[in-house]
């Protein structure tokens, strides 16, 4: 019976043979190697049996050699069903349309879920998301990748410590963690203030503790600035400075020293500035094009003509087209073409030096933080090598040099 396995898929027909001794037709079939099954004699001169679809052409040839009348009674199996299905145009159209519709619906955001944060933050996040174009009913092609959404949200909603963005089918899930403002842990016990780096003290404001240095004093890194030991204990150690203010303190009292000490500090940096610089800027003109991508083939969908920019910056944003829960091998590609303008600039030596100084200042400021103030700079060395101006600069800054050290 193995020979007739899967017969439904290849298709078969029931034929009726009419003539004298009709069973001999099946005998002829057998000789040709055509298998038949369910052969029945329905009358003295009629006989019917099943035959595979693939053998029909041979049957037709055989018919010519014999004097039988052969009629096809029933056609069965998948190929016939399929043909019958294709004949009904409206059903085929409906099936195609429904597939299209499902594809269409699979690419829409149906739900935006925000979890893990209190209501007011949830509302804020939701509002921000609306601003990005993320709401139920939005087209998923227009969405940015989750990582970008996450970055944007973290930037725009300061109350969020972290937010996880996950796409689950047609739903977007946001898992947020609220920022709880925790008081910065301070060294609680008694402590001293020491210098973090060397410098000359410019301003001193000590709110607690015993200052051991004065304005215009030069300090090295690690030098004691404000002592947490008030009274006789420290008196023996620092006989000059501490005495004036706190003479009437009880001996041996330890406090957490607090204060703000700004000192002038120095930095030596090296900068090199090329005399010729080339860079590109975007002019702001841009156009969007849309494609549907199949592997390496891009089929333009919208905006067919290329803009006449001299130089363009291309930026592709791809979104897979989904069907229910699977990604189809199709991708929707939005391309942004921006006009680029190259710039070439030649600097004179003076300009290059000025640029180098400015750059060094900015870098140092970034390094020291916004509280520091850069007061001035000196050029220690200046030379031109390989079309570059090499500068060695000496920068002076004023900054807080306090470092807290607990007293054991």
């Amino acid at each position: 019976m193995e020979k007739f396995q899967g017969i439904f898929f290849t298709g078969y027909v029931t034929i009726a043979v009419k003539g004298r001794l009709p069973e001999l037709f099946f005998q002829a079939c057998m000789k040709e190697g055509i298998p038949a099954w369910n052969v029945k004699k329905t009358g003295t001169d009629t006989c019917q049996g099943n035959i595979k679809l693939e053998h029909i052409s041979t049957i037709r040839k055989l018919r010519r050699q014999h004097e039988y009348r052969i009629s096809f009674i029933r056609k069965q199996g998948y190929p016939f069903l399929w043909r019958r299905f294709l004949r009904r145009k409206e059903i085929v159209a409906a099936a195609l349309l429904s597939v299209l519709l499902i594809t269409f619906l699979s690419n829409i955001v149906w739900k935006v879920d925000i979890n893990g944060v209190p209501l007011e933050i949830e509302a804020k996040v939701e509002k921000q998301l609306k601003g990005y174009g993320i709401h139920p009913g939005a087209w998923t092609f227009s969405l940015e990748p989750p990582s970008v959404i996450q970055q944007k949200l973290l930037h725009d909603v300061p109350e969020l410590l972290w937010i996880g963005v996950k796409r689950r089918g047609t739903a977007l899930e946001f898992q947020g963690v609220e920022k709880t403002i925790v008081q910065r842990q301070k060294v609680k016990g008694p402590r001293n203030l020491v210098a973090a780096k060397k410098g000359i003290i410019q301003k001193m404001y000590v709110s607690r503790g015993l200052p051991t240095k004065e304005v215009h004093d030069y300090v090295e890194a690690g030098d004691l600035l404000v002592s947490g030991e008030i009274g006789s204990l420290s008196l023996t150690e620092q006989p000059e400075d501490g005495e004036e203010k706190d003479k009437n303190q009880k001996p041996g009292k330890l406090v957490a020293a607090e204060g703000d000490i700004r000192a002038r500090t120095w930095y030596e940096t090296k900068v090199s500035v090329p005399l010729e610089a080339g860079y590109e800027t975007l002019t702001g003109n841009q156009e969007k094009k849309y494609y549907v991508r199949v592997k390496d083939f891009y089929m333009p969908v919208w905006n067919l003509d290329n803009p006449d920019y001299k130089e363009t910056q291309r930026e592709n944003h791809e979104t897979p087209i989904r069907f229910i829960k699977w990604d189809l091998p199709l991708k929707f590609v939005a391309t942004t073409l921006s006009e680029k303008e190259p710039y070439f600039k030649k600097r004179t030596r003076e300009e290059a030096v000025a640029f180098g100084i400015e750059q060094a200042r900015q870098e140092l400021q970034l390094q020291l933080g916004p509280e520091a103030e850069i007061q001035g700079e000196k050029i220690l060395h200046e030379s031109i090598e390989n079309g570059k101006v090499e500068l060695t600069l000496y920068l002076t800054a004023e900054e807080n040099i306090v470092k807290e050290v607990p007293i054991e």
Binding site: M1, K3, F4, L21, E23, L24, F26, Q27, C29, M30, K31, G33, P35, A36, W37, N38, V39, K40, K41, T44, C47, G49
Partner: protein, 94 residues
């Protein structure tokens, strides 16, 4: 010559214990009760009707009689007959 050949085969079946249906080209009939008959190694169909099936064998015919016969499968050299089988008979040519 043909006789010698034939005798060789008979000898081989007897002494080498090889299946006789293969060597001697004889039909092999397997029956399941009254309802099925499975005939292999036949040489062609001679008569078939609701009540009778006659197959050629290498010498003569095999006649199967009964009622409501249906040929469940018809492959070159094998036939599965379904129905109510009443008798199986060999009819020799000569």
């Amino acid at each position: 010559m043909k006789k010698l050949h034939q005798r060789m085969r008979t000898w081989m079946t007897r002494y080498l214990a090889l299946p006789s249906d293969v060597l001697l080209e004889l039909p092999r009939i397997t029956m399941i009760g009254q309802i099925h008959a499975y005939i292999e190694n036949h040489k062609g169909l001679a008569v078939y009707s609701d009540t009778e099936l006659r197959l050629k064998a290498n010498k003569g015919y095999i006649q199967i009689k009964g009622s409501s016969f249906v040929l469940k499968t018809m492959l070159p050299e094998e036939i599965l007959l379904e129905g109510t089988i009443e008798e199986v008979k060999y009819i020799s040519d000569d």
